[in-house]
């Protein structure tokens, strides 16, 4: 007997096939109460289908789903979406266009008018839209519509909150702000959340735990720092953040490659792909350097430098602070700051 709290959501070997194509394969993960989980993957990888399975908008082909300790889908259980107590916010918000803000939010509420009134006021205050009750959805900006959608989903106090790419319809300038606001709102509501996104920056900055999904299957589940620093495979490394992958020959503790002999983070042998983040290296200007600067792109807060490695001939990206200066054609040495990660090929 343990006294661990009941998980907010448990998915156990959940699969979904449409005809012959497997959209979701053996999805397994647990969401702790109050946790923010991001399901990250390229478009078409099955992450939206996963979310719809949790919401009850699709029936799984096999597997079990438990929400707040209650079995909602299994071999002999099926709870329709209206009885699952999940909140869902779509990418397009899907506000009821014929109802005003008040009626949109009160839609999922039962009980006396006084109670509804109080609850609507509460969630509107939570999302910072107090006084907007009488507006119609088309009179709201994109960001406001999104907050109404969030308030509407929060109002019936759902057991979990599901967000399907909720920020992708906002323009870039607004996105960062809204993202932070939404995280604050959900944290202060203390609600367990699953976010589906294809934007790795969004997943890393918002979530407590990120699950990376390729081709319908979870390939890695980890907190953002672990995911970024120790991706489980070259594919994950490439998808999460910017990564240089160069060929090398490993002998256990070290690896021989175009950058010379480097210490390894993980022991491997034989042909490997070495993963080096652009910001994980320093450049030393020297006439006999093994790399040559091709171009530099200056962003202000930092700069991206494109190198050509002498013996490999491969392109190599380096991110440097704003104050250093390297002219194209300069020969440099690439020095890694820490032991590198390598994957057997």
């Amino acid at each position: 007997m343990t006294n661990l709290p009941t998980p907010a959501l448990v998915c156990e070997r959940v699969s979904k096939t449409f005809g012959k194509t497997a959209a979701v394969r053996d999805l397994t993960f647990t969401l702790d109460p109050g946790q923010f989980f991001a399901l990250l993957g390229p478009s078409g990888c099955g992450k939206t289908t996963s979310l719809r399975l949790m919401a009850g908008l699709e029936t799984p082909t096999s597997g079990k789903i438990e929400i707040g300790g209650q079995m909602v889908a299994s071999e002999n259980t099926w709870l329709p979406p209206n009885r699952r107590r999940v909140g869902l916010v779509f990418q397009d918000y899907a506000l009821f266009p014929h109802l005003d803000v008040w009626r949109n939010i009160a839609y999922g509420l039962d009980g006396a008018r006084q109670f509804k009134k109080q609850r609507v006021e509460e969630v509107l205050a939570l999302v910072g839209l107090g006084g907007m009750e009488k507006r119609m959805p088309h009179q709201l900006s994109g960001g406001q519509q999104q907050r109404v959608a969030l308030a509407r989903a929060l109002a019936p106090a759902p057991a979990i909150m599901l967000l399907d790419e909720p920020f992708s319809n906002l323009d870039a300038a607004l996105r960062a702000q809204v993202r932070e606001d939404v995280r604050q709102i959900l944290k202060s509501a203390g609600i367990s959340t699953v976010l589906v996104t294809h934007d790795q920056e969004e997943a890393l900055s918002l979530a407590d735990v990120v699950g990376v999904m390729f081709d319908g299957a979870l390939v890695q589940v980890a907190p953002p720092p672990v995911l970024y620093q120790s991706p489980a495979s070259a594919a994950v490394a490439r998808f999460v953040g910017d990564a240089n992958l160069i060929i090398g020959e490993a002998d256990g503790d070290t690896v021989q490659c175009a950058l010379g002999r480097l210490p390894l983070q993980n022991p491997v042998r034989g042909q490997v792909e070495i993963m080096i983040r652009p910001e994980a290296v320093l450049l030393e200007s020297t006439h006999v350097g093994h790399a040559e600067i091709i171009s530099t792109t200056y962003f202000g807060h930092d700069q991206m430098i494109l190198l050509c490695l002498a013996n490999g001939g491969e392109n190599f990206r380096v991110r440097l602070g704003p104050s250093e200066h390297f002219a194209p054609g300069t020969h440099v040495n690439v020095v890694t700051k820490a032991p590198v990660l390598a994957y057997s090929v």
Binding site: A55, G56, L57, T59, P60, T61, S62, S74, E75, N76, W78, P80, P81, N82, R83, R84, R85, V86, G87, L88, F90, D92, A94, L95, F96, P97, H98, Y107, G108, D110, A149, R152, A153, P156
Partner: protein, 529 residues
């Protein structure tokens, strides 16, 4: 093991099963007239085949086909230049001309025929004037000429609208490129514009042909023995109803073929269609041709709009002067509206489950059911009517010449008009909106009532209105299936014109023209966006 997992996993979704059953039952009912028609027609195939292949019946078939061909040719010759004038030239007053050239659609073919007869027929306006000059008889308006004129004048707007839409969708840069290559306006029109317009001309012409083949009013008023009229006559004279059914089947096959072709062409038209970035192209300057173009537009509007309404008003005044009153109008008007109202209401109810299944649960079954619900498009009113007469007299005599059977006939015939706009509305409802409502704890019926139905209201209202207005105008099924003495506006115009009491037909004709004018708003609405 795997098998049991799958079976026990999904609880049966009773809602969807129920929906499927309702729709299946509905489509079976809607298909009944067609199925029974086929059964009757093939009950004695040798006799039926011998009947429709005898010289006089082949003649009737030829009448229908030649009439449709003549109308198709005439309407194309009228409509294509008109459409080109209003879209691509600096024709003065082109906006007004566009409206005026569309409005003839609102004149039901038999009202148009009545107007022509009232003007040019025996004891008509023109003869009345000419009698003072000793002209006793005009060449007869009845027959092929009259039917051809009546249908052409009031159906050319179908081609006009279709070609106009096609012209507006053309990429003006192609024409400009042709001119840059040294081709003149005329050569450019024939070499570049016309070939690209072909799909929209074909679409419009097919509509006109289908309209002509299934039209009963104009050919009946003009006493031209096309298929629809012959079916009507044989039905009232012949006791061999397998023969009448065979004639009906012949017509249905013709109509179905045309519908198939038009569906095929629609697909092609999409392939042809190239969205152009620039909407405005430089207009062709008519210069000295401006006057000729104005006269051409004016002539068509005069013949297709001013003249028929003028004649009707003339007979209305003529009748009032001779002591006719509007009293006789009241009963038929009420009856027409009651029939139209009930049919529209029922259509509005049954269309909802059909459209929901079509749009939200696409499958082979729902596509099949959707196709079945559109069966009315291939069934001319006179054919639906005789099929139901045969069915009722044989199996449920109590229903024969009762309102429920008549309303059912309307439903079979006009449900597609309800389904079109409703489906268009439903397709615009984002399914995420309904799904959001579900996750907020509401069941499907609640979501249907509070979210889906309010959101498709505009399409629903348009559909109901369209059915209402079309039923008001319907003639052949009403004539055949209505209880004895149950006169409607349409049948009143029919009997008055048959007896040459033109004055008595005038008032109901005007009412119907006004009613149809309202329906034009709904027919044209999709063009606005």
């Amino acid at each position: 093991m795997q098998q049991t997992t799958r079976r026990s996993f999904r609880q049966p979704q009773w809602g969807i099963i129920g929906l499927g059953c309702i729709n299946l039952g509905l489509v079976v009912l809607l298909a009944l007239p067609l199925v029974y028609l086929i059964m009757r027609a093939t009950s004695d195939p040798t006799d039926g085949w011998a009947y429709i292949t005898q010289a006089s019946k082949l003649r009737v078939l030829w009448n229908s086909i030649s009439l449709a061909g003549a109308v198709a040719l005439t309407t194309t010759l009228i409509a294509v230049p008109l459409a080109w004038l209003v879209v691509r030239t600096d024709l003065y007053g082109r906006r007004w001309w566009t409206i005026l050239l569309t409005v003839p659609l609102v004149i039901p073919s038999y009202v148009g025929a009545f107007a022509l007869i009232g003007a040019l027929g025996p004891k008509g306006m023109v003869q009345g004037w000419l009698e003072d000059f000793g002209v006793e008889r005009l060449p007869s308006i009845y027959g092929f000429g009259g039917a051809w004129l009546a249908i052409s004048l009031f159906s050319f707007p179908y081609v006009f609208l279709s070609v106009r839409a096609g012209l507006r969708g053309l990429d003006p840069q192609l024409e400009e490129a042709s001119k840059m290559l040294g081709q003149g306006t005329v050569r450019t029109f024939f070499k570049i514009t016309l070939p690209q317009l072909l799909p929209s001309i074909q679409a419009g012409v097919l509509l006109v042909i289908l309209y002509t083949l299934s039209d009963f009013g104009a050919v009946a008023f003009m006493r031209f023995n096309a298929l629809t009229r012959d079916i009507y006559i044989q039905n009232s004279q012949s006791f061999r109803n397998n023969r009448v059914a065979m004639l009906g089947l012949e017509l249905v096959i013709l109509a179905a073929l045309l519908l198939l072709i038009s569906r095929r062409l629609e697909g092609n038209a999409k392939a042809y269609h190239r969205q152009s970035n620039r909407k405005n192209s430089t207009r062709v300057r008519l210069g000295k041709w401006q006057i000729a173009a104005q006269l051409f537009c004016g002539l068509i509007v005069l013949l297709a709009l001013v003249a028929p309404i003028g004649v009707t008003v003339y007979w209305l005044i003529n009748g009032l002067e001779r002591g006719e009153t509007f009293n006789e109008l009241l009963g038929p008007l009420q009856r027409s509206m009651r029939l139209a109202g009930i049919t529209a209401g029922v259509a509005g109810l049954v269309a909802l489950p059909l459209v929901i299944m079509q749009v939200r649960y696409p499958s082979r079954l729902s596509r099949g059911l959707g196709f079945g619900a559109y069966v009315g498009n291939a069934l001319p009113g006179v054919v639906v009517a005789i099929a139901l007469v045969f069915f009722a007299t044989r199996y449920v005599f109590e229903l024969y010449q009762t309102l429920p059977l008549l309303i059912f006939a309307y439903l079979v015939r006009f449900l597609p008009e309800m389904l079109g706009p409703l489906q268009a509305s439903m397709l615009q409802v984002n399914p995420h909106i309904e799904e959001s409502a579900l996750t907020l704890g509401r069941n499907r019926l609640h979501v249907l009532a509070t979210i889906t139905v309010p959101l498709v209201r505009s399409g629903w209202v348009a559909g109901v209105a369209l059915v209402f207005l079309t039923v008001m105008k319907e003639l052949p099924a009403t004539r055949i299936l209505a209880p004895i003495g149950y006169d409607t506006l349409a049948t009143q115009i029919w009997s008055a014109t048959q007896e040459l009491f033109y004055a008595r037909a005038a008032a109901p004709s005007l009412v119907l023209v006004i009613v149809s004018a309202l329906s034009l708003i709904y027919i044209l609405e999709p063009e606005n966006d």
